[in-house]
Symmetry: C2
Subunit: 301 residues, 2 copies
């Protein structure tokens, strides 16, 4: 089924204990769509500048990603510079240049209007709401956000939250949004704000799914090397939503499988810098790691 993402496309410069890269393709919509494209065709709405060339569009087009919704406007593409020091779970932002992203107004191309699964990447909640309202008949909508919007635009965030089915955020964001330190209590409160399904990402500690009747907890996949955590959360969301759109199944057991596929994709993303690992995946890699996660977590009664 059709899957659409709205979010950022950026050039990232990243330093980690394992090396550094300059101006590599990144952004929430990029990591999301790359990951989801291994499950289903993806449509993307984003904005880039004049420094975004054919070689960059090609990265999307070599996968089943419809990039017609990436608008190219005068100016430079969004740039982010960050580093990871000891704690690979914590990015330190060194520089943010919003550039063309500052005046981003998402436009929905007419052929996208039959979209069934929508992911609202981490952007201004007022823009998320505008996009959400363009799609009155979705099978499922999901949203990501961050501390900046939770603290800075709580009223706008509440409005869009009330319209979505699924919220995908990290542990500290869930605590901040709910004002509850305890994750079970935080989840209950968030589920009353709109999204009946809540996915809490915990970095190397895995993820928790709060659905209508049950809770599912998945530990993180154990890697020998984490080279670059940038984009892991959006990659998780891409695997999660990609699998839901592929199967069209929103049952609780399928939501659990989607969390596992999200973790699988996130675990690949961090193995190499930027998109490198995601771009050279084979479908067999994904199934193999799904089975590894199954073997990692299985126990008998």
């Amino acid at each position: 089924m059709s899957l659409l993402v709205v979010g950022s496309v950026a050039f990232d410069s990243i330093q980690t204990p394992h090396g550094q890269v300059e101006d590599v393709l990144g952004g929430s919509a990029t990591f999301f769509s790359l990951a989801a494209s291994w499950f289903t065709p993806v449509r993307i709405i984003a904005v880039v500048g004049e420094d975004f060339g054919e070689e960059h569009f090609k990265i999307f087009r070599q996968r089943p990603i419809d990039a017609h919704g990436i608008e190219r406007v005068p100016g430079r593409t969004f740039r982010w510079k960050g580093e990871y020091v000891d704690d690979m779970n914590q990015a330190h932002t060194l520089e943010t240049q919003l550039n063309v992203f500052e005046n981003f107004v998402p436009k929905v191309p007419a052929p996208y209007l039959d979209t069934e699964f929508l992911f609202l990447g981490n952007i201004d909640p007022a823009l998320q709401l505008k996009v959400r309202q363009a799609f009155p008949k979705l099978r499922a909508s999901a949203l990501d956000t961050m501390n900046y919007w939770i603290q800075g635009m709580p009223a706008e965030l509440a409005k869009v939250l009330a319209t979505v089915d699924i919220l995908i955020i990290n542990e500290s964001e869930a605590r901040m949004l709910s004002g509850q330190q305890n994750l079970k209590k935080a989840a209950e409160k968030i589920q009353c704000m709109g999204p009946r399904t809540l996915v809490i990402k915990r970095g190397e500690h895995g993820a928790i799914l709060f659905s209508q009747n049950t809770i599912f907890a998945l530990p993180g996949f154990l890697l020998e090397e984490v080279h670059d955590p940038t984009g892991a959360g959006d990659t998780f969301a891409g695997g999660f939503m990609g699998y839901l759109a592929q199967t069209g199944d929103l049952s609780e057991s399928n939501l659990r499988r989607a969390v596992v596929y999200g973790s699988v994709m996130g675990s690949f993303a961090v193995e190499e810098f930027g998109l490198q690992r995601l771009l050279r995946l084979a479908p067999g890699d994904i199934e193999a790691r799904y089975q590894e996660l199954k073997a990692l977590t299985q126990f008998d009664v």
Copy 2:
């Protein structure tokens, strides 16, 4: 099968955001034996002072715990005072009075010599080795230790590590002991030091079991309230070793089940202050929570 623990018996004074208690019965051997006693009879070797009265011995005797190995000597019992502020995973020690524990020399009563499962609680590694050597024919031996011994007595610790089958420590201790930040690499290194089986405790994030051929990761049980984390690690070890001794089965699948029982017991311990919750458990509670953990972690292929 017979299970013996050597460790501390203490009086704890604890402050958490949920309240405080003064001089309640605690210590590694206490939490361990209480938890294990729900699975199998337990023998205990420890030392207490003259302030340790019949009312305290009774706490052990109301469970299938053989307390003949608790030696009562002149002086005061070991006392620990600590608090938990925001992060319930991190105890801040306010005061430690070793008292009679300072000159503790474990003595093995003759009737204990047929012990089959041994747990060496977190004490001086030279004493752990001494106890270990009193039991040439064990089914399985396990050891706990901490940063104080890892940094302060590495040679003595290496000696006793070389003699045990199982090491049960927390995440930061595993990193310190191995000098490896990555847990997979840390585990490989530790497994070369002696223990073929390594259990890494991760507090609210669960536990990982590294056995000879496979890795098993279990997320933490989600609680609405954590009132007092004191003793959670020893309680985990008690559930783990208690289940192994009860079943007499050291297969990889049974080690996994033992990790789940350890987590179950640890999750009870933190629900109330001190031993309160462990003392009023019913066997049905344990099985019910085991099934809850199963439901929390299950997903299909």
